[in-house]
C-alpha cells in the first residue's frame, strides 16, 4: 500500500514545536488543497491535535512523498526544515499503515487508551473528504483504522479503567454500590475539587446531593448547581447517615470524622456501606475509619494509587491490542495485494479473449457459412478452452499475491504470458 506519513507527536517533540506545526481548523481546507495542487498528491489528509500533527498521503513513490511532505510542513508553517528535522518522524507503506492503526486505537496516545483520539482521526478524515482529497486508498485505509480501533475497544479492556481522580472516585463508587442510581452524596466543604468529583458522580446517576459548608450561603450556592440540598452545621450529624458517598474537602486543620463517628454512622445505616473520599490536605477523616466494616475511605494518595494501577492495567491490555493491530495490518495487506493482482488477471483474460476472437474469425473464413448450432459449438469450445487454460494461472495469481515473498513468482507468471510491462 503506497502510503507515506510524516509528523510530530508528544513522543518526539515538546509542545513549543508541536504548536508551531499545528494546523488550525480554519486553515485545513487550504492546506489540503495545497497538497493536492502544488505537491500533486492524489490523496491526502491532515491530523492536527494538541498532541500530534500528522500528514498522510497516497503516492506512487513513498520516499519521494516523504520529502515532499516535509517540505510542505515547513513551508506552510514557515519554519526552516533544519530546526524541525530531529522532531519529525516518517513512515511509509506497511509501517505507515501500522502507525495509523495504532494512533486510531489510542496505542500511541499520551494516556494509553484515551477515547478522544478516535474522534479526532474521524474528524480529520471527514475534513479531508469534504476537501475532496480522499480517494479509494485512503478511504479503505482509514475505514479499516476505525474498525481496528473499535475492535481494540471491544476486545480489550484498554479503556475500561479510570485514569483521572474524579473518574477513579466514580469507578470505586461503582465497585462498592454497583449502580449509583438512588444513591446520596454528601459534600463536606464546597471547593473546586469536591464540586468536580460530585459532578462526575451526578452524571453517573447519583440522585441526591447534600452540601455542607462552613458558610451556609456557599453551601446553598453549590447545592443549587446540583439541585441538591444545603445542610446547616447543627443538622450535619442528623443528615450524615443519609449519605452513601461522602466527599470531604474542608479547610479544617483537624479530623472532622473519626472512627467512633464511623461506627455510629454504620450502626445508624444498618450496615449499608459508606464510601468516603477525603480530598482535603490536611486530611479531614481519620484513616482509622477505614477499619470500620462497610466503610471505605480513600484519600487523595489512595486515588492516585488506583490511577497508577489502572495505567499499569492499560499497559498490559495494550499488548493484546498490539496483537490485534498486527493481525489487521496483515489482513489489510493481503486484501490490497489481492487487489493488486486483479489487474494482472484481467489483462491476462483480455489478452486471451483478443487471441480467441482473432483465431475464431480466421477459422470462420475457412469454414464458410455455418448453422447457428455450429456457431454455438465453436463459441463454447473456444471459450471453455480459454477458461480451462486460465483457471490454473488465475487462482495461482490470487494465492501468490497474498504473500509479499511471492512477488517474483507473480512477475514470472506475468512474463510467461507476455504481460510484463
Amino acid at each position: 500500500m503506497n502510503v507515506a506519513l510524516v509528523g510530530v507527536s508528544h513522543k518526539t517533540a515538546p509542545v513549543n514545536i508541536r504548536e508551531r506545526l499545528h494546523f488550525p481548523d480554519l486553515r485545513l481546507p487550504e492546506a489540503l488543497s495545497l497538497l493536492c495542487s502544488r505537491y500533486e498528491f492524489p490523496e491526502s489528509m491532515i491530523l492536527s491535535t494538541c498532541n500530534r500533527v500528522e500528514v498522510v498521503t497516497y503516492a506512487a513513490d513513498p520516499p519521494e512523498a516523504v520529502r515532499k511532505i516535509r517540505d510542505f510542513l515547513c513551508s506552510f508553517h514557515q519554519v526552516p526544515y533544519e530546526t524541525m528535522r530531529e522532531f519529525l518522524y516518517d513512515f511509509t507503506q506497511v509501517d505507515a499503515v501500522r502507525h495509523i492503526f495504532r494512533v486510531a486505537a489510542s496505542l500511541d496516545s499520551m494516556v494509553l487508551g484515551e477515547p478522544q483520539i478516535l474522534g479526532q482521526v474521524k474528524t480529520a478524515f471527514s475534513t479531508a473528504q469534504s476537501a475532496g482529497t480522499i480517494g479509494s486508498t485512503l478511504s479503505l485505509l482509514m475505514n479499516r483504522a476505525f474498525f481496528v480501533a473499535k475492535r481494540v475497544r471491544s476486545e480489550t479492556s484498554i479503556a475500561s479503567s479510570a485514569v483521572s481522580i474524579s473518574y477513579a472516585a466514580v469507578e470505586l463508587a461503582k465497585k462498592i454500590f454497583n449502580d449509583l442510581k438512588g444513591k446520596t452524596v454528601l459534600i463536606l466543604g464546597a471547593g473546586k475539587m469536591s464540586e468536580l468529583a460530585a459532578k462526575h458522580l451526578a452524571s453517573s446517576g447519583v440522585s441526591e446531593v447534600l452540601v455542607w459548608n462552613r458558610t451556609y450561603q456557599r453551601a446553598i450556592e453549590l447545592a443549587e448547581v446540583f439541585k441538591g440540598e444545603a445542610v446547616r452545621t447543627e443538622e450535619l450529624f442528623k443528615h450524615i447517615e443519609r449519605a452513601d458517598i461522602i466527599i470531604s474537602s474542608t479547610g479544617s486543620p483537624a479530623f472532622i470524622l473519626n472512627r467512633a463517628d464511623g461506627e455510629r454512622i454504620i450502626h445508624l445505616r444498618k450496615n449499608r456501606p459508606v464510601f468516603i473520599i477525603d480530598i482535603a490536605v490536611p486530611r479531614d477523616v481519620d484513616p482509622e475509619i477505614n477499619k470500620v466494616s462497610n466503610i471505605f475511605l480513600y484519600d487523595i494518595d489512595d486515588l492516585r494509587n488506583v490511577i497508577d494501577a489502572n495505567l499499569r492495567q492499560r499497559q498490559r491490555e495494550a499488548q493484546s491490542a498490539e496483537e490485534i493491530v498486527r493481525q489487521e495490518v496483515e489482513s489489510l495487506l493481503n486484501h490490497s495485494r489481492t487487489r493488486d493482482a486483479t489487474p494482472a488477471i484481467l489483462t491476462l483474460r483480455e489478452h486471451w479473449e483478443v487471441i480467441r476472437k482473432e483465431e475464431l474469425a480466421k477459422s470462420r473464413k475457412r469454414l464458410g457459412i455455418l448453422s447457428p448450432e455450429q456457431e454455438a459449438v465453436l463459441e463454447s469450445l473456444t471459450q471453455s478452452l480459454i477458461n480451462k487454460m486460465l483457471h490454473g494461472p488465475t487462482s495461482e495469481l490470487k494465492r501468490l499475491s497474498r504473500h509479499p515473498a511471492n512477488d517474483d513468482h507473480i512477475d514470472a507468471v506475468k512474463r510467461m504470458f507476455g504481460l510484463k510491462d
Binding site: 471491544s154 476486545e155 480489550t156 479492556s157 475500561s160 479503567s161 470505586l172 461503582k174 465497585k175 462498592i176 454500590f177 454497583n178 449502580d179 445505616r269 444498618k270 450496615n271 449499608r272 456501606p273 477505614n290 466494616s293 462497610n294 471505605f296 480513600y298 489512595d302 494509587n305 488506583v306 494501577a309 489502572n310 492495567q313 491490555e317 493484546s320
Partner: protein, 272 residues
C-alpha cells in the same frame, strides 16, 4: 447410554471451565460465549443422562452415590444458569465450574451398574426430599461463591491497591445481593426438603425423626441459615459478616453431604 451422555457432558463442561478461566484471565468477553455454549450444551446432555434411565422405565436416578453426585452437579449448573440470567456474572463460573467438573467426573468414575432399588426408597416424599434438598444446597453454593467474591473484592477495596481481582470481580453490592437472594431461595427449599424427609421417614420407617448424623447436621445447617436470614432481615446484617456466614454455612453443608456419608446411618441405604 446414560454413562456415555455423562462423558459427553464432562467434555462439554471442561470446555466451559477452560473458557471461563480464559475469560477471567484475559478479560475478553467474547471468550465467554464459548464458555456459555459449552455449559449450556453440557447442561442439556447432563439432563438427558439423568432422564434417560427414567424414561427407560426405572425410577428417577437419585439414589446411589454415582447418581447423587451427578444430580448435585446438575442442580448446581441449574443454579448457575439461573443466577447468570439475572446477574450476567462471568466471574461466578470460575467458582462454580471447578466443583461441577469434579462432581461430574467423580460421578462418571464411580458409576455402578443399575441395581434394584430398595422398596423403602420408592415413595413420593422421597422424590420430593432429594431434589429440593439438593436444589437448596446448590443455592447455598452460589451464596458461598458470592461470599468468597465479596471477601476478595472487599479486601481489594480496603487495601486500596487494586490488583487483578479488583478488575475482574463484580461490585460488593452485587456480591451481597446475589448471596442474599441465593439464601432466600435456598432456605425454603432446604426447609421443604427436611419436612419431606421427615414425612417420608414417618411413612417408611414409622418414625419421623431418627437422630442419625446426617439429620443432626442438616438441622445444624438449617439453624445456621435461619439465623443468617433472620439477622439479614431484622438487623440489616450484610457485607463481610453475611459473606463469612454464607461460607461457613456451605462448609457445614459439605460436611453434611459428604462427611456423614459413611458413618453408618439411616441415610446410607445403598451401602447396606
Amino acid at each position: 447410554m446414560s454413562l456415555f451422555l455423562l462423558r459427553i457432558t464432562i467434555a462439554l463442561y471442561s470446555i466451559g471451565l477452560l473458557h471461563s478461566f480464559l475469560t477471567i484471565v484475559t478479560r475478553r468477553k467474547t471468550l465467554f460465549r464459548v464458555a456459555l455454549i459449552g455449559i449450556g450444551s453440557g447442561f442439556l446432555s447432563h439432563g438427558l443422562s439423568i432422564v434417560y434411565p427414567w424414561i427407560e422405565g426405572r425410577q428417577p436416578p437419585i439414589t446411589n452415590t454415582h447418581e447423587a453426585l451427578s444430580f448435585f452437579a446438575f442442580v448446581i449448573v441449574l443454579a448457575f444458569l439461573v443466577s447468570y440470567a439475572r446477574y450476567r456474572l462471568d466471574s461466578l463460573s470460575v467458582f462454580v465450574f471447578p466443583l461441577v467438573f469434579i462432581l461430574t467426573l467423580a460421578a462418571s468414575l464411580i458409576s455402578s451398574p443399575p441395581q434394584p432399588r430398595p422398596e423403602i426408597l420408592q415413595s413420593l416424599w422421597f422424590y420430593i426430599h432429594i431434589p429440593t434438598t439438593f436444589l437448596g444446597y446448590a443455592a447455598f453454593f452460589v451464596a458461598f461463591s458470592a461470599g468468597i467474591m465479596y471477601l476478595i473484592q472487599e479486601n481489594e477495596l480496603k487495601r486500596k491497591r487494586p490488583q487483578a481481582f479488583y478488575y475482574r470481580l463484580p461490585s460488593l453490592e452485587v456480591c451481597d445481593d446475589l448471596g442474599y437472594r441465593s439464601l432466600s431461595v435456598g432456605f425454603p427449599l432446604l426447609t421443604v426438603g427436611i419436612v419431606a424427609g421427615a414425612l417420608w421417614a414417618n411413612k417408611a420407617l414409622n418414625q419421623p425423626w431418627g437422630w442419625d448424623p446426617k439429620i443432626i447436621w442438616s438441622l445444624i445447617t438449617w439453624l445456621m441459615y435461619a439465623v443468617l436470614i433472620h439477622y439479614r432481615l431484622s438487623a440489616g446484617l450484610r457485607g463481610r459478616r453475611a459473606a463469612l456466614m454464607s461460607i461457613v454455612g456451605f462448609i457445614i453443608v459439605l460436611f453434611t453431604f459428604i462427611g456423614t456419608r459413611h458413618q453408618g446411618s439411616a441415610h446410607s441405604f445403598i451401602q447396606q
